[in-house]
């Protein structure tokens, strides 16, 4: 009753009080809202803008000019050259390492998780649900808890200080299995699988020829998420690697940063410049890729998590 009354009276009251006033209020709110959104946007952009500007300065300019003022002569290429010549070009090595770690982890995570997700979504076997809940529960375990013992377990396997030692543990993605299991269950029609099996197609063929093409969007999402996750990972490679030539970018740049407190920093090496330029070059590919692929990333993140 009351809702119907309100529905009929509310618009008529607006009409009586005049449309002009309401339009003014609406404009006023829009201005306030936009102002707020712009201020927040500035907050999120400040560090990145500062990094861009700082990477164009020399060490002395960095300390003598305002933090957001561009120098008269841009030194970006000078800084980049400096960075790539530092310690026989070890930065280039870190960059390549990051690509190796992130690329192989992303591809292998997708392969392993889609197979496991398929088994959990479309097969019946005893203990299936228990297994799925164990995998789900393992998402609750703080990732770093297993990292120190991982170091101990990898030692006798000769995996400490190797590419494989970093890649293998990162392939284990309970989120990936969960996400693809849900996706396969909802998206791949059983009739399609049955038809292929009646035609005599072996399981392997059914998986690669029917399941994988259908779930390609989800695989792309997982590929991107695990690439970003590996590129950003710091703790695991920090614990498992001791050889500078195997470091990915975050661990390598941490080594550079830790030189700041040493006496060598001021005299022989422009450490600030090295760290700033290295940071810029490390995040730039991620930011560009992120802008290009944001849609795919968002779909996956939300699909996987909303149903959790």
């Amino acid at each position: 009753m009351s809702s119907i009354e309100r529905a009929t009276t509310a618009p008529s009251r607006v009409v009586e009080e005049g449309r002009g006033q309401w339009a003014f209020v609406k404009h006023f709110i829009t201005v306030i809202v936009m102002l707020f959104l712009v201020v927040v946007a500035v907050y999120f952009l400040i560090p990145v803008v500062w990094l861009l500007i700082a990477s164009t300065k020399t060490q002395t300019q960095l300390q003598s000019t305002g933090i957001f003022s561009l120098p008269a002569h841009l030194e970006l290429f000078q800084n980049v050259r400096l960075l790539f010549s530092y310690s026989n070009g070890v930065f280039g090595r870190w960059f390549v390492n990051s690509i190796i770690y992130s690329g192989s982890v992303a591809i292998l995570t997708c392969a392993v998780s889609s197979m496991a997700g398929y088994a959990l979504a479309k097969f019946d076997f005893r203990g299936q649900n228990v297994l799925f809940y164990i995998i789900l529960a393992s998402m609750m375990i703080p990732g770093t808890v297993a990292t120190i013992p991982l170091f101990v377990i990898e030692q006798p396997l000769h995996l400490v200080n190797t590419y494989l030692g970093v890649i293998l543990p990162l392939i284990v993605s309970p989120f990936g299995v969960y996400f693809l299991r849900i996706y396969i269950r909802d998206v791949v029609p059983n009739e399609m699988l049955e038809a292929a099996k009646v035609d005599g197609a072996p399981e392997r063929t059914v998986f690669w020829r029917i399941v994988v093409p259908v779930i390609r969007p989800a695989i792309v999402t997982l590929l991107l998420i695990s690439f970003i996750g590996t590129w950003n990972n710091f703790f695991l490679p920090l614990v498992l690697l001791h050889n500078q030539s195997l470091y990915p970018l975050p661990v390598g740049v941490d080594v550079l940063l830790s030189l700041i407190a040493t006496p060598a920093a001021d005299q022989s090496m422009p450490i600030y410049q090295l760290v700033i330029t290295a940071s810029l070059l490390s995040i730039l590919p991620m930011i560009i890729g992120f802008i290009l692929f944001r849609k795919q990333i968002v779909t996956g993140l939300t699909q996987g998590s909303v149903k959790l």
């Binding site: 999120f44 560090p47 740049v253």
Partner: protein
């Protein structure tokens, strides 16, 4: 008469044999598809966890492990540095969690009103830090926090890297990193809602604020709970930001539990005790997360119950 029955039986048998063959091959192929993941899951996640607990029952004397039962845990309970690091991260988790989730909610709800223009541009800018590794976020903010590089700080006589302000400076870095991520999850949950509901509310005379408060916010409750839990688990593991900032300012090695564990394992090379602290940190994190989840479920149930009560009494009055 016997002949057809016998043949029927064999047919059945053949059928059941066929079935069991199909059944077996079905289970075998499921196992083959699961094998790679399960192998890695056991070797690189379960085994380290079990091994962490196992080593925590030993101490090392002259390179020889000696079984001591739960003595490491008894020592850990009296380890003041460890517990103060736990208090630190819980304080951090609560303050950072509240600030970040409120900010993310406001951004998601404001961007969901008709007053906001250029929505997808703002969503992109806010979400951008998700692509920036925590290490580099810490470096950028760390430099903006350090006086020699930031004339603004010299002017206002405020040092974000002083021991009193450090926790809040880290809170700022983490909020910068994750607010947009959480906003994205909320925005997605809101776009999943059918617009009929909103139209009905607007016809009912709801303004945008009432719509956000009475309709959208309750709809977001499950997503909020999930982000609270995920953010809490992440906060308890705090490591990257203080570890990186310690290059710019002196920070205690026991500032957070993970820094404590890392130093214990690699600077003091006491792996059994590091494992003990890791097991404790994991147990505390899971315990608190579980309590929060159960509490949220109970509150949700009680709320639904009271809503149902009001609905039924309302109907009774109407009748």
């Amino acid at each position: 008469m016997q002949l057809p029955g016998a043949s029927q039986k064999t047919e059945k048998e053949v059928n059941s044999m066929k079935m069991s063959y199909a059944r077996r091959s079905h289970v075998v192929s499921a196992g083959l598809f699961l094998a790679p993941f399960m192998l890695l899951f056991v070797a690189f996640l379960l085994a380290p966890l079990i091994y962490a607990f196992y080593t925590s029952l030993f101490i090392e004397r002259f390179g020889q492990p000696i079984f001591v039962g739960f003595r490491n845990y008894v020592n850990a309970f009296q380890d003041a540095a460890f517990w103060s690091s736990i208090v630190n991260v819980i304080k951090y988790a609560v303050i950072q969690g509240v600030i970040m989730i409120v900010l993310s909610l406001i951004l998601a709800l404001v961007l969901d009103t008709r007053y906001a223009k250029l929505k997808s541009l703002f969503r992109l800018v806010y979400f951008l830090p998700y692509a920036v590794p925590g290490v580099f976020a810490s470096i950028m903010w760390g430099f903006l926090y350090s006086k020699p590089l930031d004339p603004l700080l010299q002017a206002v006589h405020f040092d974000p890297l002083s021991s009193g302000a450090l926790l809040y400076s880290i809170i700022n870095i983490a909020t910068w990193e994750w607010a947009g991520y959480n906003m994205t999850l909320y925005s997605a949950a809101l776009t999943g809602v059918s617009s009929d509901l909103y139209e009905a509310a607007i016809v009912d005379g709801c303004n945008e604020f009432q719509l956000a408060w009475h309709i959208k916010l309750p709809l977001l409750r499950p997503t909020i709970l999930m982000t609270v839990i995920l953010s809490f688990i992440g906060s308890m593991q705090l490591f990257n930001e203080p570890f990186l900032l310690s290059a710019l300012t002196p920070i205690s090695q026991t500032f957070t539990p993970n820094m404590d564990i890392y130093a214990m394992a690699f600077n003091l090379t006491n792996l059994p005790y590091a494992a003990t602290l890791a097991v404790l940190l994991g147990a505390i994190t899971i315990l608190i997360s579980a309590v929060v989840m159960v509490a949220a479920r109970l509150v949700g149930r009680a709320r639904r119950q009271s809503e149902e009560d009001t609905v039924t009494t309302g109907e009774a009055v109407a009748a």
